[in-house]
Amino acid sequence: MVSSPIQATNSPEKLQVLWAGVRRQHYQSLTELYQQMYTDLLNFGLFFGHDSVAAKDAVNQIFLEIWERGNSLPAVDNVRSYLITYLRRKLLREFEHGNRFVELTDSEIMSQRSYEEVIVQAQQEERIKKRLQAALAELTPRQKELIEMRFFRNLSNEAISQETGMHINTVYNTTSSALKTLRQQLGQEDYYNLLTVWPLLFPLLFQADSLTYS
């Protein structure tokens, strides 16, 4: 495994090229555009207060629509903001349809929702939510920022270094220490879990033994 294939930043020029490809019904352009924009769009949905599956469905619907529209799609200056607006309308329409959402303005949502809130919200179990919240509270703002960039925005260490202007080693060390803190809080959970389910793990343990001795 060599250097990162993850596209750190979606350059507007690259998105323009892909958009033109989609308008020409070039399928690979569509999938590449999807890969470029997926995390960004999903995060936006999450910041909007939707759950990740609903956001994913909306994103897929958008991409289906733009593929079917093909050359009747408008030429767009800012592909990213076009898609985000598209998603926002789609999600709002969906929730108006479901009639359980009071429309909020963009800024309200963005200002009210933080990364921490979003990822805590995304967890299913109440216990994990609490533990995650507690764990995140122990991090410094910088650590939090790096964790968000790495795990939420899917940036490589190199990309983070570029974006923050920090040295790659500093990025690495800061993120590592943040992870240790998080694991201390979140890992204990697993320790308790192991205590309660340990009889079920016997077969696995025996299998591990036989592997080490052979």
């Binding site: 495994m1 294939p5 993850i6 997926y38 990740s52 593929w67 079917e68 995304a122």
Partner: protein, 332 residues
């Protein structure tokens, strides 16, 4: 790099691992999925790293899986809407279709047979006559108080069959190819006809055939041999003795009722009374010994029972009186 020595933190700091975890790079996904199959000793660390990674990314669906969904979505739109087959196996479906078709045909056939086998009846009341045209073109004049019936398909086979109770004058059409016409009675005999005219009487006390023209064969319901009749011949079965009587007669005397007449030619008073009873549905009694053997000769118009009986009484030099529903013929 030895991934088998990786701790949870090492995995989380590896960009390739992250690409696997988020599904953003298919090569990384393939690599780490294959790596797990090798049952590495640090599989727990790997799984814990994956859990934390997904926890910190907000449990977003993996990119590669979502992209596959989109791909399916687009492909399903490109194709015409598939016809969803019934959730029944083809073989079973075929049997069901075959069975229902057979059942439908069977029901139709049974219904048709039933319909075909139904009787069509023609009936006359007392002192009524009726001319019936049969499907083969034959005509039957029914005398009073008689029933002629045949099955709906009674004329479609290689034999024409009708049933008679009472009295009828048959004018049977000769058909080519030869198709026998059979008159079945519920009593003494059946008559088989080739194409002819005859009078058949199947009354409670009178079982008689008189042939006007053509040729008929009378077959009896007991073991008696059949009789082939010539025109102008009379065959009758005596009601009490069951003996067969044959004689040559003037055939048109026996279908006088066609002309609305009673024709008595030395007819016994008993027979006269039977004819009157059958014609009008009245009860006539003879009061006096040996009167019944007296004969009557004459032609009487069929009008009212009183008038006919007055005429008969006058011919036989008798008196007629009526008590309630019974006419009584007597000497004085």
């Amino acid at each position: 790099m030895n991934y088998e020595n990786y701790t949870v933190d090492d995995f989380l700091m590896d960009d390739q691992f992250l690409a696997y975890c988020q599904g953003s790079d298919s090569a990384a996904v393939l690599f780490w999925e294959t790596w797990q199959l090798g049952k590495p000793p640090n599989i727990f660390a790997f799984q814990e790293a994956e859990r934390l990674c997904r926890l910190l990314n907000g449990q977003k669906p993996r990119l590669n899986e979502s992209l596959r969904e989109l791909d399916d979505l687009i492909r399903s739109r490109d194709r015409p809407v598939p016809i969803i087959p019934l959730p029944v196996s083809r073989g079973f479906q075929r049997w069901v279709v075959a069975a229902s078709v057979l059942l439908a045909i069977g029901l139709c056939w049974a219904g048709y047979q039933y319909w075909n086998n139904q009787y069509i009846s023609y009936e006359t009341g007392y002192n009524q006559q009726r001319t019936v045209s049969l499907p083969d073109g034959s005509r039957v004049v029914l005398n009073s108080h008689s029933v002629l019936r045949h099955r709906r398909n009674g004329f479609s086979g290689n034999e024409r069959v009708v049933e008679l109770t009472g009295e009828g004058y048959f004018s049977v059409r000769h058909l080519v190819p030869l198709t026998p016409f059979r008159v079945v009675t519920n009593d003494a005999f059946d008559v088989q006809v080739l194409g002819t005219e005859f009078t058949l009487s199947n009354r409670p006390t009178l079982h008689r055939v008189v042939l006007n023209s053509g040729r008929i064969r009378v077959s009896f319901h007991d073991n008696r041999p059949a009789v082939v009749m010539q025109p102008g011949q009379l065959v009758e079965v005596d009601d009490s003795t069951r003996r067969l009587r044959q004689r040559a007669v003037r055939a048109d005397q026996y279908n006088a009722w066609l002309r609305n007449q009673f024709l008595f030619d030395n007819t016994s008073l008993t027979d006269v009374i039977h004819q009157i009873e059958e014609q009008f549905g009245v009860t006539v009694q003879i009061d006096g010994d040996k009167l019944a053997e007296q004969t009557v000769t004459g032609i009487l118009p069929i009008s009212k029972p009183e008038t006919v009986l007055e005429a008969v009484a006058a011919l036989a030099q008798l008196k007629v009186r009526k008590t309630k529903n019974v006419f009584i013929l007597s000497k004085n």
